[in-house]
Symmetry: C2
Subunit: 306 residues, 2 copies
Amino acid sequence: MANQNKSDRIVPVGITQMTCAEDPAVNRKKQAALIEQAAKKGAKIICTQEMFASQYFCQVEDHRFFKLAETIPGPSTDLFCKISKKYGCTIIASLFEKRAAGLYHNTAAIIDQGQVLGIYRKMHIPDDPLYYEKFYFTPGDTGFKAWDTKYAKIGTLICWDQWYPEAARLTALQGAEILFYPTAIGWHPHEKELYGTAQHESWEIIQRSHAVANGCYVCSPNRIGIEKIRDEMGGYVNDAGIQFWGQSFMTEPSGQIIYRASIDKEEVIVNPLDLEKVEFARTHWPFLRDRRIDSYGDLTKRFIET
Amino acid sequence: MANQNKSDRIVPVGITQMTCAEDPAVNRKKQAALIEQAAKKGAKIICTQEMFASQYFCQVEDHRFFKLAETIPGPSTDLFCKISKKYGCTIIASLFEKRAAGLYHNTAAIIDQGQVLGIYRKMHIPDDPLYYEKFYFTPGDTGFKAWDTKYAKIGTLICWDQWYPEAARLTALQGAEILFYPTAIGWHPHEKELYGTAQHESWEIIQRSHAVANGCYVCSPNRIGIEKIRDEMGGYVNDAGIQFWGQSFMTEPSGQIIYRASIDKEEVIVNPLDLEKVEFARTHWPFLRDRRIDSYGDLTKRFIET
């Protein structure tokens, strides 16, 4: 009986990494195929990379790209709801959401057993050279959320959110056992030699730390390939583009890497996650017990002038 | 002129790791010698391991050990103020503080240019097998603090605090450029083979992540040696004791390890830290800019029932 219960909590989880073409229909079809591959490998919860339906158009501020956005429900969620129903799985689909005219978000749809269970809108929006997201995405108004899906209590955050321990904590405090981080992050090719290793390590460390601090699994699918975005005249907005660094990964609640994917190969990664380890981690290293909530009020300040 | 300013911001920083004997006088003398070694190597800010003046008595709940506590000012701060004055340096001294009868804290004294500039009392207190700190230490009431010392704006937290991103953030939000974590953490010898590597990695990852999230340096001195605590009858309260894992380290604001010490050798570690890198990190990966302070209110909740 004990064994039966224990094995019930071992959930195969899938993440995918792929290149993206200019045509959303092509990307959607490819992403659907990878999700089905993961489902056939037994994955019960599957998460896409960030905004799989398009190239990473945020390399430039160009109003043309708003036409890439889709509604929820819309073409991607319609397709993935069918796949979710067919395989009885949960799918986290990272989308460019059109909410209303002039109101767009970077949004993850959580699809469970054929239905859209809810959405999470990216709360932290970057704006840096070639990552001009503040032009496109209104900061999320969903707050941080966790969902009871059929197989696990999960939370999702999106890319830039990954640098914020606050976001991971607020999601874990709702009971999330697995945090997903659909991501599109890469190197400026001219910076790669000098900063590339450190940048990648920073990215991995901060997400592994969310596992450690919260005693939960972390799964981060990232895109691959070099993407150069075309301007209206057919040239490139930036000749070097971005080289996405792939290396999608999953970590144990201890922060140990379960699997780290390649930099540049399309991959469907499925691993069994034992959710009993979440309870074990939280009981044996009981960080939640000792939080000094009486002293955290200033976390809502921008800065603390002394 | 630009170079002059820049070199002014390169500060040699020292941390030390050592074994501790039963006699506080012996430990204090040894710690003072290591601090002087660091100062002679040029260190301008020097941090001790956690509670250098005694063995890690928290392996058992025993009222005898309250006599190990000292007042602030007291013998350790008196001695270190002299060293601080002699070398013109800042010393972070981790002490077992007697505040009043029946009121004890795990406290760091920040000594600058011969004076006690302030104290920080450990806010997060653990209580786990062989780490029975809640018996000895009243949770700190100083809150999280940063200090303008002669050479840098610094913050200190203590050991168990290191698992809390909230603590690092609240210190960094006061402008701290370097976070210090005086530590006493080790393996239960019987767990070492199965969990030892993962435990040590979790510890390093979470602290490296504070550097990443906050764009600051992190310096963590940890004790070394195997300590078995004697009971009143002269036997050991635990035959295996704790094997402290040393490996004191310093990280860049990117989270990259600058230096990782040995597991079991006494060491005086001094490295030049370029504080311009703190500004560079915070400007180029501007996480502080995008914090969603409007959505962090629930961080003061124990749990978020959904």
